[in-house]
Every structure is written in C-alpha cells, then in structure tokens.
C-alpha cells in the first residue's frame, strides 16, 4: 500500500509550481491547510526524511527542500 498525504502534497505542489526553494516553511505558508501536527512539524523543520515517511511525494520534497539535500 502506497502512503500518500494529500495535505502534504497540496502544500508542496503550490510552492514547487512557483519554482521556489525552501529550507523550511512558515506558519503563513501553511495557513488554511488541513495538516496533522506531525505533518506541520515536518514542513516547518524541513525534515525531508520525515516528510517522505509521512507520504509526501519525493519529487516534491526534492523540488521544495532542495537546499536540505547534500547531493
């Protein structure tokens, strides 16, 4: 079973489509999104491994949190 979080991917898609890259997201950027506390924490801390485990699409993780990747 593939784990997908629609809420996480919706937030990340909006940012990726603006071609923006982030270290972390802010409360303002998350306002109005139906995220769990765990999802919110992962987005606000730029936790790229946590986001993957929570069901964010890896292409979107890469696009948005590019500065978090060492390679």
């Amino acid at each position: 079973m593939i784990r997908t979080s629609y809420a996480l991917n919706k937030v990340l898609t909006a940012i990726a489509r603006q071609h923006l890259m982030k270290e972390r997201l802010t409360d303002d950027e998350l306002a109005g999104h139906a995220l769990s506390e765990e999802e919110r924490r992962a987005l606000k801390s730029g936790d790229i491994v946590g986001l993957y485990r929570l069901g964010a699409n890896p292409y979107l993780i890469r696009r948005v949190f590019r500065p978090r990747f060492t390679i």
Binding site: I2, T4, K10, Q18, H19, I48, Y59, L60, F69, I71
Partner: protein, 277 residues
C-alpha cells in the same frame, strides 16, 4: 502508411544541463557524445514530427487530478519555462506542438478503448527540455507528447504502458505515407530522487534493463511490479515506463546503447540508446 523513421531512448535529469561542471569530465563527455550522436542520426532521418513518451513531475498533474496517460494538445510547450530554465540552465523556449495530429491520436485511441486524458497546456520540466536541448537544439521539429504517470503512484503497469505504446505505433502506421515520424522516450534509468536514498544509482539494474532492450527481449520487464522497480531502480527507475511504451510501438526493434554512465553528481544512471529494426 507513414514511416517510423527513428526511435531513441534517453535519460532526463535537470543536472545534465544544470550543473555540467560537477560531473566527472570523462563521464560527461561520453554521455554528451551519446546525445550528440543521437542528434546526428535523428537529423539524418529528417523527421516531420517527434512523438515523445515522457512523464510529468507534479508540475502539471497534481494530486487533485492525475491521469495515468495524457495526450498533449497544446500549440506549443514550455521546454523549459522561465522558472524551470534557471535550474536547468537552459534558455526558456517554446517547442511547437502538433495539435491536429495529437487530436487524431486522441480520437482514435478513445474509439479503440485507450482512455487517454488530454491537456491543452503543459509546462515541461526536464522530461522535454533536457533531451530536446541536445536532440533538436534549433527547436524546429514539432512534438506530440504522450505523458504517462511515472512519478505519483499508484502507476499504470509496465505492460499497460507497452500496450498503449503499441497503439501509438499502430496509429502512426495508419497515417498518410508522407509523414516521417520519430519516436523519443525519456526518463530512467535507475535513480533515487527526494527519497531517503537520494543519490543512489544501481548500475547492475541499469545494465539489466539495457541488455534486455539490446536483445529486444522486453517481455520480462513488462511483469515487473512497482515495488520491484522501486527497490532496484528507485522512484526515478519507474520512468522506464516511457521506454517500454516506445518499445511497444516498434515490436522487435533492438536498442544500441551509445552511452551509459552512472553519474553520481547528477544522481542518475544516464543512458542514450538508438533503437532500430
């Protein structure tokens, strides 16, 4: 009967053009030489149109609407857009589409039970921009893209992709004899992008894939599951669906691997393959 004058497979990755300087010079030169040879051979066939089997990366199709297969009906495609151009270090440009041709494909496909979605506006990421930078640098040959969902699972099976490609091949051959059609598929081979294993490449798996294609022994690949491909080829390896679709259009044709380089710096097993009878 229209003729398929050329068929080829390439990888795509933003860093192939975005950061050429970080690749090892000998690997970069061999891979670029493969692209240049593909360009030379493709140009020699004088194609009127390039049918492109490619995949989106959540740029166009998001989780609110995700087609398994989608025909592009746009007059022109951003390849790349101004936004994507920065990362891929390419000049923004528009590649002409072939909306009448693509509409004919769409109508015949639906009539035959191949339920393509369709889109009048597509912003290409690396799936069109990077290979076309090498293959048609002047950008004059129109393209007819066929998008397959390779990046937002659950995905169509490799076998279904192959069947869809076979339909496209039949459609091409049903066209007027004056048309000269090239087929290009981009994506793969192994790469892990955005996952905890980002940067991993599996050259053993890549060679398996390429060896099967070189022998025109595609059947075993069509039974691979999403989980098997994810394990051995990474999430980027799922893009071999595009290759398998193209190979469905040219049954029995064999791949000639012009270059294969597992380029760690570009986090991708990179290949250029000419496909011929």
């Amino acid at each position: 009967m229209a003729e398929i004058v050329a068929a080829l497979l390439t990888s795509h990755a933003p860093l192939i053009t975005g950061k050429p300087e970080i690749g090892k010079p000998e690997q970069r030169d061999r891979l670029y030489a493969g692209f240049h040879e593909l360009r030379r051979r493709l140009a020699a066939t004088r194609p009127d149109l390039i049918v492109m089997f490619v995949n989106d990366h959540l740029q166009n199709f998001a989780y609110n609407n995700l087609p398994a297969f989608c025909v592009g009906l746009a007059d022109a495609y951003d390849a790349p857009s101004a936004g994507g151009a920065r990362l891929m270090r390419l000049a923004p440009r528009k590649i002409p589409g072939a909306p009448d041709w693509s509409m004919a494909l769409l109508e015949q496909a639906l009539a035959a039970g191949i339920d393509f979605a369709y889109s009048y506006e597509i912003e290409s990421w690396d799936e069109l921009s990077v290979p076309l930078h090498f293959l048609t640098p002047e950008g004059g040959v129109p393209i007819a893209p066929v998008y397959t969902n390779c990046g937002a699972p659950p995905l169509p099976t490799p076998r279904r992709c192959h069947e869809v490609g076979a339909f496209v091949g039949d459609f091409v051959r049903s066209r007027p004899a004056t048309e000269r059609i090239a087929l290009v598929a981009t994506g793969g081979v192994s790469h892990w992008v955005g996952t905890p294993e980002t940067g991993r490449i599996n050259p053993d798996w890549d060679h398996r894939v390429l060896d099967h294609i070189a022998r025109a022994d595609i059947e075993p690949l069509l039974d691979w599951s999403w989980a098997e491909i994810e394990r051995d080829g990474g999430n980027g390896g799922q893009e071999i669906r595009n290759w398998l679709a193209l190979l469905g259009a040219v049954p029995g044709w064999k791949g000639e691997v012009l270059a294969y380089e597992p380029v760690a710096e570009w986090i991708t097993g990179c290949a250029t393959v000419w496909v011929r009878p």
